[in-house]
Amino acid sequence: MKIKKNFILREVAGTYLVVAVGDAVKDFNKAINLNSTGAFLWKQLQVDLTEEELIGKLLEEYEIDRETAKKDILGFIQRLREANLLE
């Protein structure tokens, strides 16, 4: 899975925000607020990764157990799906 193009991640006042640019603005006019884990995962998903690969990336970055990583990632992916942000 991979993030659609025309969405950008920015940090403002210590807050991670995702907004649409270009043609995507028409269908997506809100900003999504991410925590630091979310921002990390977002950056990874600029390239096509499987769920397993994404879990691996998160375990490399954060000192958490596999189960927590998987739970976090499933929650994150669900959020991306609901917002229709995955290709």
Binding site: I8, R10, V12, A13, G14, V21, N29
Partner: protein
């Protein structure tokens, strides 16, 4: 071709309909400063505004909106953003009240005028612009001033921004930059190009660093003003 000066930006504009010149009359400029840019609205721009609107208005109204959009696109790269809010000044200090439409920004501003009388200047009741000048943030009146047509062609330094919520009792407290950011994101124009997004975000970030930030729960009463102004004027 008429010349205008809004937020200290001098521009010229040709009009499709006379209405726009009437709307902008307080901002007509006949001074010596050079024209920075031409903002000419076309019928295509009018059609674009129409396509964004859920409601039907005469074309002249959409021309006014199109000019507003063109102005903001130019002004952004001159450190200027719109904050959908009711902006007023008391004794020279500006306060911006922001909230989703229908919450009662205009009503709260009206109470300020009733209670604090001629100490209050109404800057703009709906769509003021905010500009960074030498590292400080100022709010300016614009001709786009909401259904009550309340604005003055004026400029004041911003002391505080206040997110307004309806409440049974009147209570005010400071909020974090992050909390205010999430409020303001819905109150500014969401640009299309990446460099416009970056410029908007960097201005918002700096603005949040340089003014006091509050959340006010209020009802419609004189006390609402005393609570609101009482805290914000002292910076408490």
């Amino acid at each position: 071709m008429p010349k205008y000066k809004i937020a200290d930006i001098v521009f010229s504009a040709t009009h499709l309909f006379p209405y726009v010149k009437k709307v902008c009359k307080d901002y007509l400029y006949e001074g010596e400063e050079p024209v920075e840019t031409e903002l000419n609205v076309t019928m295509e721009d009018v059609e674009f505004e129409k396509s964004l609107s859920k409601l039907t208005f005469p074309d002249e109204y959409f021309e006014s909106l199109a000019l507003y959009r063109k102005f903001l696109e130019y002004a952004l790269f001159h450190d200027t953003i719109i904050l959908h809010s009711s902006a007023l000044a008391v004794d020279g200090d500006a306060f911006l009240f922001t909230a989703p439409s229908g919450t009662g920004k205009s009503t709260h501003a009206k109470l300020y005028r009733e209670v604090l009388k001629d100490r209050v200047t109404t800057i703009n009741d709906d769509k003021p612009v905010v500009r960074k000048v030498n590292g400080e943030f100022f709010v300016y009146g614009t001709p786009w001033d909401g259904k009550h047509r309340l604005s003055t062609n004026s400029k004041f330094k911003i002391k505080a921004i206040c997110a307004l919520k309806r409440g049974e009792k009147n209570q005010i407290n400071k909020i974090s930059k992050k909390q205010m950011l999430l409020v303001l994101l819905n109150q500014t124009l969401r640009p299309k190009k990446e460099e416009q997004v970056d410029k908007t975000f960097s201005l918002l970030g700096e603005l949040l660093d340089s003014v006091s930030l509050y959340e006010l729960h209020c009802n419609i009463s004189e006390e609402a003003v005393l609570v609101s102004y009482g805290a914000m004027s002292k910076g408490e």
